[in-house]
């Protein structure tokens, strides 16, 4: 079903009603990303920080954790996926209901990182498709929020091509301390 709606949006013969419905669907999916945290390793520590008050993932509607893949929309793969873990990941992905999105959190999930050996899968895209890669070992929460916003953009436009979060720096006013920064400044909001 998701594929069809995507094709309609990008196709040339677009009826007014269909685009309206698709736009509504895109909007709803974008702001209601129930997540399945597939947390395995170090990045989980940053994932906790992301869910905690300072970075507050809830603002994006993407924090409600569902610990059953059936009810989740967004699969966060947080941390290294080993050879032993990979089949589990595949199983979890298969059990998710469409439309489903995958975010590779951190270098290990994106490409295996510096664990280039017999035990580690070099990137989860060897096992499941990925929508957004967030590099970093572990990535800063700001970077992950960038990734989330990128994913939201992609969902709204129906674009399923894999994308990578690029590094960027935001300007910081002189007297702004870090605690206030996420509270009010929210420079990332411009991208969303």
């Amino acid at each position: 079903m998701s594929d069809k709606s995507i094709q309609v949006i990008e196709g040339s013969e677009v009826g007014f009603a269909t685009t309206r419905v698709d736009a509504l669907l895109g909007w709803a999916r974008k702001y209601s990303l129930f997540q399945y945290p597939f947390v395995t390793a170090c990045c989980g520590m940053e994932f906790m920080a992301l869910a905690s008050p300072r970075f507050d993932m809830a603002r994006f509607g993407a924090e409600a954790p569902r610990f059953t893949p059936r009810q989740a929309d967004l699969l966060w793969v947080v941390g290294t996926v080993s050879q032993r873990q990979a089949p589990v990941l595949k199983m979890v992905y298969d059990q998710m209901a469409d439309p489903k999105y995958v975010l590779a959190f951190g270098t290990c999930a994106s490409c295996g990182g510096f664990y280039d050996n017999y035990a580690t899968v070099p990137g989860i895209d060897k096992v499941i498709p990925v929508d957004v890669y967030v590099p970093g070992c572990p990535p800063r929460p700001e970077g992950v929020i960038d990734g989330l916003l990128l994913l939201q953009d992609k969902i709204a436009t129906g674009d399923r091509t894999p994308a990578v979060v690029k590094p960027r720096t935001d300007p910081v006013p002189k007297d702004l301390v870090s605690l206030r920064r996420s509270a009010e400044g929210d420079p990332v909001s411009e991208a969303g």
Binding site: Q83, A86, P87, Y118, P122, D125, K126, R160, P162
Partner: protein, 209 residues
């Protein structure tokens, strides 16, 4: 500080103690595999030693450096006397490439259980008398023992299907390795990629179809 333990060991076991040293301040005794279990029991129960705190059990592969090839290393500590000691025993591969064997210490210290399973998993050292010598860190279908020096660090093995319960199921995926190739959503073109899993190179080659 822990010299007294070494002295008592030498007194008790005599010839079976191959050598002792205290390099970098760590008192060490090398014993023959035959008395391995006996030494452990003695160290735990002797009133002057009381090495009741199990610390570590592992192995080292000295491929090309020493014979016998493997050395099983045991660290322990005494809660009361604060002694620390290391006991090692050299073990060799069997004549037909059989796995080296040594007595299990699970009945001496409970904690040895997982450590021995790990040593079996990583080095292929069989512990005689171990109640449940399964692989610990790797999966059952994994072939070889990765920490042996002759196991190539890059050698990947096929992914196996997730197992419910204890029983094994057939592996899935390509027989020669992981189903490599970038997986993307259906709409997107499927890239074909290959990775040599046996050799040293591991280059991901992408190709538009």
């Amino acid at each position: 500080m822990s010299k007294v333990v070494l002295k008592r060991l030498e007194k008790r076991f005599g010839e079976a103690i191959l050598s002792t040293h205290d390099q970098f301040g760590d008192e060490t005794a090398v014993v023959t595999p035959e008395v391995w279990h006996e030494v452990a029991l003695f160290l735990r129960d002797d009133s002057r030693c009381q090495m009741d705190h199990f610390i570590d059990l592992t192995a080292v592969d000295y491929l090309g450096r020493r014979t016998p090839r493997f050395e099983v290393v045991l660290h322990m500590r005494s809660m009361q006397k604060l002694h620390r000691i290391r006991v090692k025993t050299p073990v060799a591969m069997g004549p037909d490439g059989e796995n080296p064997k040594v007595d299990s210490l699970v009945d001496v210290w409970k904690g040895a259980n997982w450590f021995e399973r790990e040593a079996w998993d990583m080095f292929g050292i069989e512990f005689k008398g171990h109640p449940d010598l399964r692989r610990l860190l790797m999966y059952e279908e994994f072939e070889g023992h990765p920490l042996r020096k002759d196991y190539d660090a890059n050698k990947t093995q096929p992914l196996v299907e997730y197992r419910e319960g204890y029983e094994k199921q057939a592996p899935f995926g390509l027989p020669e390795g992981m189903p490599f190739g970038r997986q993307v959503h259906d709409r997107w073109k499927v890239h074909v990629a290959g990775r040599q899993t046996d050799g040293k190179t591991n280059i991901l080659g992408f190709e538009e179809d």
